[in-house]
């Protein structure tokens, strides 16, 4: 059991770092109409869904810290948001939600929309930016991130579940 947990910890850590590198090193340059995708929030949701509330919160915290580190001017927005989301996803998966792709998809979209709205709000409230431009940027970011929902789901599921022998 301990070995399985350790393996899961190592796999999840490797996945988190890989997603961080992809988000900062690759997709910060490969933009879609000026928007970059968010991968770490998807990881936080997946980690919560497959590892439960407590571990989800911890993985969310790690993902949030990395996410804030990769972006300027977000303060602790993602640290707080992803911790809550990881915990919440884990909590719901323990009591209400099934640990499948539909649940992951719905929760990921919700987190992506919340992230975009919170980022948008900062610029709307403090910088008086054009609301339409902000909404378009938020929409592009959410849509671009949406492409990665299935690959991230498969990776997190593989990293979090122990491999059954004979398969």
């Amino acid at each position: 059991m301990k070995a399985e947990r350790l393996a899961s910890l190592i796999k999840n850590t490797a996945l988190l770092l890989a997603l961080f590198l992809l988000q900062t090193g690759v997709f910060s340059r490969v933009r879609l109409m000026g928007a970059a995708p968010l991968l770490l929030p998807l990881f936080a949701v997946g980690a919560g869904l497959f590892n439960g509330g407590l571990h989800g919160g911890l993985w969310g915290l790690a993902a949030g810290v990395l996410c804030d580190a990769s972006m300027g001017g977000t303060g602790l927005l993602f640290t707080v948001l992803l911790t809550v989301c990881g915990f919440f996803a884990g909590f719901l998966s323990q009591f209400i939600l099934a640990r499948g792709f539909p649940s992951f998809c719905v929760m990921s979209v919700a987190v992506l929309v919340i992230s975009a709205l919170l980022q948008l709000f900062r610029f709307l409230a403090f910088y008086g930016a054009d609301p339409l431009s902000l909404l378009l940027t938020g929409l592009r970011q959410t849509l671009y991130s949406f492409i990665f929902i299935l690959p991230v789901y498969l990776c997190v599921r593989r990293a979090s579940r122990p491999r059954i022998k004979g398969r």
Binding site: G72, Q119, F123, Y127, D130, L136, G138, Q141
Partner: protein, 280 residues
């Protein structure tokens, strides 16, 4: 002997006669060509086959005999190729850096009061809401918040927003938080070049607060005016590539495309000191 010639005398004589006849015919027909070619024609496929077999055997033998040597040689050649490729890469990098420094030297001749620090771009901001990047120099290299960042050609890249010990965060000119006192080179019209959310996604910025809109033309070069005290005067921001009406319909603004190729940035130069900057 008598008995032999009695028995085989006629065939031997016939064979000798045939041989003499062939030799004579060959000689009369132009040397030994006919006979040789006949023999050669019959034997050449066999010779070829034998030659190929020998070559194959030689190759197999050579391969087996020299295998270890070949492996060693192969490893050595691979290592040499890797080393040469590394050298080629380094030399290409050095050439590019050399070119950039040459350009900077030309800029230094024009602006002798500028003091620069060079830095490399480490990473770009992963956010969709900002345009900024991290460089590999910080307060230890003498950088401070608000220092102006340019390319080797003297094109404005942006401004240092945050400084760490060994890294700094640079906000580019197209970021929505940017506002630079600007001057149109040809018309000497003052304005403000500022970042705009909608234009940032297209890699452009806005030329606003133009007091005489009629004087702004597409293709005008926009320079820093130096009035805000952050950017030195006379640095190139970009060119006016479009003129648009603002949403209210009462005013107009220009769209500036930065002269610095922000997507291709690898090395930048930070102006640590210039004459108007007496505090530095």
């Amino acid at each position: 002997m008598k008995a032999f010639f009695k028995k085989a005398g006629v065939p031997v004589l016939a064979a000798l006669a045939l041989a003499v006849l062939i030799t004579a015919v060959s000689y009369l027909a132009g040397g030994a060509g006919l006979f040789s070619s006949l023999i050669g024609g019959l034997l050449s496929p066999v010779e070829k086959l034998a030659g190929n077999a020998v070559s194959s055997l030689e190759r197999v033998y050579g391969y087996m005999h020299n295998y270890d040597e070949l492996v060693r040689e192969n490893a050595e050649l691979k290592s040499r190729i890797a080393s040469m490729e590394k050298e080629a890469r380094l030399s290409a990098d050095a050439l590019r850096e050399n070119e950039r420094l040459r350009k900077l030297l030309r800029l230094s001749e024009k602006k002798p009061d500028y003091r620069y620090v060079d830095a490399s771009v480490v990473s770009w901001d992963a956010s969709s809401w900002a345009s900024s990047f991290v460089i590999d120099k910080g307060s230890r290299a003498g950088l401070k918040e608000g220092d102006c960042v340019i390319t080797e050609d003297g094109y404005v890249v942006g401004l240092i927003r945050e400084v760490g010990a060994n890294t700094s965060d640079v906000r580019t000119v197209i970021d929505s938080g940017t506002a630079i006192g600007a001057l149109l080179q040809d018309a000497s019209i003052t304005a403000v070049a500022e970042g705009d959310f909608a234009l940032m996604t297209k890699g452009c910025l806005k030329l606003t607060y133009v007091f005489d809109n009629s004087g702004v033309l597409i293709g005008d070069t926009v320079l820093t005016s130096g009035t805000c005290g952050v950017y030195p005067a006379g640095l190139v921001i970009g060119k006016v590539t479009d003129l648009k009406e603002d949403r209210s319909g009462y005013g107009a603004y220009g769209v500036i495309t930065p002269s610095a190729d922000l997507k291709a940035l690898t090395q930048v130069f930070i102006i640590k000191y210039y004459e108007a900057d007496n505090e530095s």
